[in-house]
Symmetry: C2
Subunit: 407 residues, 2 copies
């Protein structure tokens, strides 16, 4: 008898009709002789609505209470899905994060799983029940409710699959798998058959967005093969995320990721002396500004320019912080660009194949797309470009790297 | 330093603005040097909405899952109220029923409190925090979420006040206290200064509806004085429910209660032999029909008529059940009246003062209100009348017993 851990996202349980659809899927799976643990997200955009409600009663909602509030979303879907299954004659039980034994640290809003005590889940499975686990939530040592961060129901599912040593881990979403690029931006994008953990991680953190990056990290760490597929369309086979792509696909660009809402800050005339970076970035960290790529130009007459990118929403706070630091640092000027995005090519073996970078830059040049900033990792090259050229860049690169062709 | 247990109903926390209003009230009370434990209901009619949602995914929602679903309503208000208090600079913490140590039996949907472990509440109070407890919910020995039944946040509050040996227990609602009659029906009704537990219990069970009857029972059992008052209008002093009304008010009609949606079933020609009542009512109990007043007429030629009242919503099921029993019983006919209501006078010492009954019947007669059925208790006389005469009866009795005058 196989043990399957599934996860259904917010769109898949968005209303009563969809919950019934998911229940039918799970019941069929259970009737095929599988033991099923299903992790659910909150219905539709209910998490956003709870966020808004919180901001109506508090300017800066207490993180502990925000977790109590938000966790109710997943709890509701878990109860509804469980009662729908019971109605289909498929015995089921809903468990909160706490009941499912998901113990976390006490960092509210982005808690990390410390360990999972699967006793209750195993007990319910042995009693022949389908177990519905409220995703995204856990419990701290102080017995307080914690949440694992936005989109972290994926993390719950993968962590449970690892703890239970499940035979399969399936993430059901509203798209057909991991695409070679965002199909809303690039119509010729197609779902990949498989992808490596590292590649998936780069796609997730640079904006492909289908899967929570911590879930991918845990999958890599515990070697959990994850199938990502649509809960709406069974005809699509989905994408398997596994330890590495098949041999033929190693050393190949696998996907194009992109991100919007990027801003850039350049500080001109920074004295080129040791410790200057710390003086600049420590106050930003204190102000809670998360900095992405940092570039420092070669210095001319002991003065240099320092540029970094950040999320558009942090721009105002960052400029204020940097301007306050200017006199102490002795820099001359702050220049900002609020209207940027990024485009990345992702694939293993990138660092050892300089031809990829050359093709990327040439393609962008041919499409008259100016590159504002470049950053690279072992398996990724990212170019910062103007916001209105992101979609164009994604399409051009998808074409240049022949990603519309079958694997 | 006084310890105050408060309870705020669904209307009092119906939206963000009202939650902020309640937070301000609690903060003021805490700043006056009181330790405050506040129990909250779910916002507005969110419990009804969750019920409807459940019925969209399941014809008969599993009681365990229904409890998981419904309990999220109170959990949300508790988190929102707690974050609103923090924002006002008043340190607060929300606790679920489980965290508040409210242990119950496992009868989902109408669990009873087994015991309360106040360790965590006391710990939070000692740390200088206001404690917000999600009402209506508890936890079973199996660590499953239970709910205590509709309106049971009152019960949570009174039980906590008893366990914590609180100096005051205050139930905040959308009316100014316990009225001498329902003010929507009887405009001259006025809030009572105080009322005895038994009287309150009769008012609660015969439709005054301001307070959950189990809460009144617990208050009586543990001798908790309960103040019921409006959270919207501080100018009204509210009603104190206590061990007995003051001497002057004993042996006096204190209030007029009424109920709508009552139906009546009469079974004609029932053979007057032992065990006939059991044969008739046991199948009704099995069918889940709750029977109120039962009247059996004196028999004529060994045949009697048996009449009982019930909720209108149970009428159809009850008639089917009774008709199925007719052949076995040998009764001749079932007659129903679906359109009734009740009016009651409530006050201690009723049984020893026959003048009250006489005045009640005379008053109804003078207003040409026909009495369909009469039932009495130590402190209550109830007449079943036609639905369209209920309001008229309440007004007439309120006037006849001079309840519009000051205590």
């Amino acid at each position: 008898m196989s043990l399957v851990v599934q996860k259904y996202g917010g769109t898949s349980v968005g209303d009563a009709e969809r919950i019934l659809h998911v229940a039918a899927r799970i019941a069929a799976r259970a009737q095929d002789g599988n033991r099923v643990v299903a992790v659910v997200s909150a219905m539709g955009n209910s998490t956003d609505e709870l966020h808004e409600l919180a901001l109506q009663v508090s300017q800066s909602p207490h993180p502990r209470e925000m977790d109590v509030l938000l966790a109710t979303g997943e709890t509701r879907s878990s109860a509804l899905l469980s009662m729908a299954l019971d109605d289909l004659g498929c015995s089921a039980v809903s468990l909160s994060g706490a009941q499912a034994g998901i113990h976390t640290d006490a960092v509210h809003g982005r808690a990390r799983i410390a360990d999972i005590n699967t006793t209750r889940i195993k007990q319910e499975l042995s009693a022949g029940r389908v177990v519905i686990v409220a995703g995204f939530q856990g419990i701290s040592e102080e017995l307080d409710i914690t949440t694992l961060g936005r989109g972290a129901s994926d993390t719950t599912a993968v962590a449970l699959a690892a703890s239970l040593n499940a035979d399969a881990c399936e993430i059901y979403t509203d798209v057909a798998g991991i695409y070679s690029a965002d199909p809303r931006v690039c119509p010729s994008a197609r779902p990949l058959k498989d992808i490596g953990y590292d590649e998936m991680l780069e796609l997730a953190t640079t904006g492909a967005g289908v899967m929570h990056s911590r879930a991918v990290e845990i999958a890599a760490l515990y070697d959990v093969e994850v199938l990502v597929m649509s809960s709406f369309d069974d005809s699509m086979l989905g994408t398997v995320i596994r330890v590495e792509a098949t041999m033929e696909q190693a050393s190949k660009v696998r996907g194009i990721a992109h991100q919007n809402h990027i801003a850039k800050i350049t500080i001109r005339g920074v004295p080129d002396r040791p410790g200057i970076a710390a003086e600049l970035f420590e106050p930003l960290a204190v102000a809670g500004v998360s900095v992405d790529t940092i570039v420092q130009n070669a210095s001319v007459e002991d003065l240099t320019d320092m540029t970094f990118t950040l999320n558009q929403s942090d721009l105002e706070a960052a400029v204020q912080t940097v301007e306050a630091s200017l006199p102490a640092i002795g820099a001359s000027e702050v220049v900002t660009d609020a209207d940027l995005g990024s485009v990345s090519i992702v694939g293993t073996g990138m660092a050892t194949s300089p031809g990829y970078a050359a093709l990327m830059f040439r393609t962008l040049h041919e499409h008259e797309i100016n590159i504002e900033l470049i950053s690279t990792s072992e398996i990724r090259i990212t170019c910062i470009v103007h916001a209105d050229q992101v979609a164009n860049a994604v399409g051009a690169l998808h074409n240049a790297f022949e990603l519309d062709r079958e694997d």
